[in-house]
């Protein structure tokens, strides 16, 4: 990447952060509200675990680790990709045309236009859950695990970012994609809140190969938690594959996006 291009992105990102920080109270209040919102989901899992001790063989500590990995990576994904969720508006209003005539990658322009700092709430909850989970599940942190964690987060962000990118690319053909965003981006999170072994076999295959969300938290957790992986459908090597899967998913999504951009016809207003 050329130096001046990098400069432009940096300016756009700081502008977006400064814009958000203009309303400090709103930001703080939103932060608090998000904590309450997530507390609702955590509460549900806690009630279940207090009553039944385990979910598909996952204890409280392990469930917390699983959840922490999901919430943290989801927050990190939102930092870079939250603008994709409103991509429909750009296409419907014809604003995407404006991005095309600028001498800068249109995707880069969209991504740097909104840098979601409210993800701080996800990081707070995610780190707390990971620490709590490590402690209760007795994770032995080794140097290799400490190195692998950022790699997993990188892969998880690419998977979830790739999914958002692919869903946005649908707009080039259908113009609208709001309901699709709702199902694929928001509702699907609910699926990996729990270990995927609760699902029937075809669903586990689906979440591994076609819509590989299981790589976001479920498979890598096996490595960190030293789970033997005998309940897995696939070879245990799968627990190390998150970064690779991330690169594959994102490459495919980007390819689809490029085809979409070439296919794009302005709505004409």
């Amino acid at each position: 990447m050329k130096k001046e291009v990098f400069q432009i992105y940096l300016t756009m990102i700081t502008a977006s952060i400064r814009g958000k920080m203009e309303y400090k109270m709103t930001f703080l209040f939103m932060f608090f509200a998000l904590l309450v919102y997530y507390a609702g989901h955590i509460g549900v899992v806690l009630v279940i675990l207090t009553k039944f001790k385990t979910i598909a063989g996952w204890s409280l500590g392990e469930m917390a680790f699983l959840y922490g990995l999901m919430v943290f990576s989801q927050g990190l994904t939102s930092v870079f990709f939250s603008s994709m969720n409103e991509f429909e508006t750009l296409v419907v209003n014809g604003e995407f045309d404006r991005l095309l005539v600028r001498p800068l990658n249109p995707l880069g322009q969209i991504l740097s236009s909104k840098f979601e700092i409210i993800s701080l709430a996800n990081f707070t909850i995610g780190i707390t859950a990971l620490c709590f989970g490590s402690y209760y599940a007795g994770v032995e942190w080794t140097f290799a695990k400490a190195l692998f964690l950022p790699a997993v987060l990188f892969g998880a962000v690419l998977i979830q970012g790739g999914v958002r990118l692919a869903v946005s690319a649908v707009c080039f053909w259908t113009v609208r994609n709001r309901s699709l965003v709702h199902t694929v981006v928001y509702s699907s999170k609910e699926m990996i809140l729990y270990p995927v072994t609760i699902y029937k076999m075809w669903m586990q295959v689906f979440l591994t190969i076609l819509f590989p969300l299981a790589f976001v938290n479920f498979y890598p957790s096996h490595y960190f938690l030293n789970r033997d992986g005998s309940d897995l459908l696939f070879h245990p090597v799968i627990q190390y594959l998150t970064p690779v899967v991330g690169v594959i998913v994102f490459t495919c999504a980007y390819a689809l996006w490029r085809v979409g951009v070439n296919h794009y016809q302005s709505v004409g207003n």
């Binding site: 709103t26 209040f29 939103m30 608090f32 509200a33 998000l34 309450v36 919102y37 997530y38 507390a39 609702g40 989901h41 509460g43 549900v44 009630v47 279940i48 207090t50 009553k51 039944f52 001790k53 385990t54 979910i55 598909a56 063989g57 609208r176 709001r178 309901s179 699709l180 709702h182 199902t183 509702s187 609910e190 699926m191 729990y194 072994t197 609760i198 699902y199 029937k200 669903m203």
Partner: protein
């Protein structure tokens, strides 16, 4: 300025026409319900995704309970059997779908200034909003609840209750639950009259609903120390009570007691809505418009 006057005139004209067309004044709210029903018909794709979403959640929660009950020996004695918990999960989700309503309507109107047009109309805003909401829900009943129910009856080992008592109790509890839900949404919507930032409040409301309404976990599973709080909050009367009465998990005197508490909440919230609506009107600031 001229344009503004004309817009108001046209609006007044439309209202007058609307009133004459609807004959009796009571029919006005029925018309709002009908219009709202028709509006929903316009979005076909949204509709299919909505049905798909509902089935997806049912699929997730039934899988969850099946796994929990398979892995825990004490689970069968928890008040729900492995069969009845699946029925609970499915019907709780269906009740949730039947109650889905547009909780951003008032907020959107305050933000755009359209609320001022509703205020000059010779009618009660609360009743209008309620009729619109009922119209939407009737749409959800016919187009979402019925197909999702049909799919679930085929796919899962569940059956509809046979006793008329279950249906009677359910209908009463559902109506009361619906009013409670609507009024909570209405009150949260009124926040828009005081502050521009409303989404945070909505998020908190969703968080409270997820945990305390019993949509995912039946209230019975809460630890004893938490029960007084959960039982006091209005949320469980929205989803848990209608669902538990429908599947026959609760019956007899206990059911009637819960319905009485529901009625109490409906009255209390109704009174609060009335008071808050008065306060909100005095507070209204329309930006531009």
């Amino acid at each position: 300025m001229t344009r503004e006057v004309r817009a108001t005139d046209a609006e007044a004209e439309a209202v007058r026409e609307f009133l004459t067309g609807s004959g009796l004044f009571e029919n006005l709210y029925l018309k709002f319900a009908m219009k709202s029903f028709q509006k929903q018909l316009a979005y076909k794709f949204e509709y299919f995704i909505g049905v798909f979403n509902g089935l997806l959640f049912i699929f997730i929660f039934t899988s969850l309970w099946r796994a929990i009950y398979a892995g825990s020996e004490s689970a069968e004695g928890s008040g729900f059997t492995s069969g009845s918990i699946i029925a609970y999960a499915i019907f709780a989700m269906i009740v949730r779908i039947s109650m889905s309503m547009d909780d951003m309507s008032t907020i959107g109107k305050v933000r755009s200034g359209a609320i001022s047009l509703d205020l000059i109309k010779p009618m009660n805003y609360f009743s209008m909003a309620l009729s619109e909401s009922i119209g939407q829900s009737m749409f959800h009943w016919f187009t979402r609840v019925v197909p999702i129910l049909a799919v679930c009856l085929l796919m899962f080992d569940i059956s509809l209750p046979v006793s008329a008592a279950n249906y009677t109790l359910f209908i009463v509890a559902w109506v009361f639950g619906y009013f409670i839900m609507f009024m909570i949404n209405f009150l949260f919507g009124l926040i828009a009259f005081w502050t521009i930032e409303t989404f945070s409040f909505q998020l908190m409301k969703y968080g409270l609903f997820t945990l305390f309404a019993g949509g995912i976990v039946p209230i019975d599973f809460f630890p004893d120390w938490a029960r007084p709080v959960v039982d006091f909050l209005p949320f469980k009367y929205v989803l848990y009570v209608p669902t538990a009465l429908f599947i026959g998990h609760i019956g007899g005197a206990e059911a009637l007691k819960l319905i009485a508490v529901q009625a109490f909440w409906v009255a209390g919230l109704g009174f609060t809505c009335w008071g808050m609506w008065g306060a909100a009107q005095r507070k209204l600031v329309v930006q531009g418009g």
